[in-house]
């Protein structure tokens, strides 16, 4: 009798314990989904001059979507998405960013402070990020758009991909990622006055 119950009990126990020891991420387009425990914080306008997210995972973790890989140790991923500035031709674009923890008591995490998601976290962002910082302390193998690497030890990589036909500005400090500043100007006049925000940027 015990032999027939053990696998079921172990399976249930495993399902209960699994989220504490592993986190899986699925990223596609502007949506990110995390299953399992993740520590995260984020910032967005109007309090900040960029859309910033910082996600930390501990222990074994896996990712799929735009990059595929597995990691063991502490992995941190920071993304910065720009604010689209107003120009003479266009108004400032109203961007959006949604952080949801539908399986938690507080479904909407607070901005600007550390949050913990135990089971499921969903992030929807627009526009896509143009700066990425990935840090691994441990072992990681990853393939895809973000990195192609096998690491044993420590690795910190950043990738900045400015958009085409635009002026982009980025200030990033690893110790204070939430204070990052990122702006994109899409329509730059060839002659005449520059937008105020761009003038401010180049004269500071």
């Amino acid at each position: 009798m015990m032999q027939s119950r053990n696998p079921l009990m172990l399976g249930c126990l495993g399902l209960l314990i699994a989220p504490f020891f592993s986190a899986c991420a699925f990223r596609s387009g502007n949506t990110e989904q995390y299953i399992g425990p993740v520590l995260f914080r984020y910032a967005m306008p109007p309090n900040n001059n960029a859309y910033v997210s910082q996600i930390v995972r501990l222990g074994p973790s896996a990712e799929a979507g735009i990059s595929w890989g597995v990691a063991m140790g502490m992995s941190e991923r920071i993304t910065v998405a720009p604010v689209i500035a107003a120009t003479r031709q266009k108004e400032q674009t109203a961007n959006s960013s949604h952080w949801l923890m539908p399986l938690s008591f507080s479904q909407t995490p607070a901005a600007g402070e550390w949050n913990f998601s135990l089971l499921y976290l969903c992030v929807e962002r627009e526009p896509g990020s143009f700066f990425l910082s990935r840090t691994i302390t441990g072992v990681e193998i990853v393939f895809g758009e973000e990195a192609n690497a096998l690491t044993v030890g420590f690795a910190h990589r950043t990738l900045f991909t400015p958009p085409d036909n635009a002026i982009s500005s980025l200030h990033f400090e690893n110790a204070r990622p939430l204070e990052s500043q990122a702006t994109v100007w899409l329509d730059v006049p060839e002659h005449g006055n520059l937008p105020d925000s761009l003038l401010k940027e180049i004269t500071k």
Partner: protein
């Protein structure tokens, strides 16, 4: 009924998948990347060969896509090449970093105009002044750093 497992087939599939994923990472886009590595690292950046490092390594890479080199006046899609952008980039890129395990963070300051925006920026007097001053600062800094000690 048990299906016999063939390890060679699985290994082949795994290698093929890894190769496809590696190719997926080789995109021809404008990008600026930095990396700090400590330990064993085998990595491959877009349009670069595979890099193997053991111990400490630090890299900064700028990858700018080059246009296809042909002498025809018209591009493949029939548009006049004179009015299409080869790929213009104007920018300043400032990186400062120290020991990542101490309180010496990585600081990045980047300002870039790309594509047609770079062409327009090159003709704009205010942006000309900004990029000119930035280039002047870099030239002065380089001249000072290469000057022998005692000459200053």
């Amino acid at each position: 009924m048990r299906i016999p497992i063939r390890p060679k087939i699985y290994l082949g599939l795994l290698i093929s998948l890894m190769f496809i994923l590696l190719l997926e990472g080789c995109q021809n886009v404008l990008g600026f990347s930095t990396a700090t590595k400590f330990g064993l690292d085998i990595s491959q950046r877009p349009d670069q060969t595979i890099d193997v490092s053991m111990g400490y390594d630090r890299t900064e890479v700028a990858s700018i896509p080059a246009p296809k080199d042909d002498d025809a006046n018209e591009s493949a899609d029939g548009t006049d090449k004179a009015n299409t952008d080869a790929y213009s980039v104007l920018g300043t890129f400032v990186v400062s970093y120290g020991n990542p395990f101490l309180d010496q963070p990585l600081v990045l300051d980047q300002f870039f105009a790309t594509g047609m925006a770079a062409r327009k920026a090159a003709r704009n007097p205010e942006l000309q002044k900004f990029f000119g001053e930035a280039a002047g600062k870099i030239a002065t800094k380089n001249a000072t750093s290469t000057q022998p000690e005692g000459d200053q």
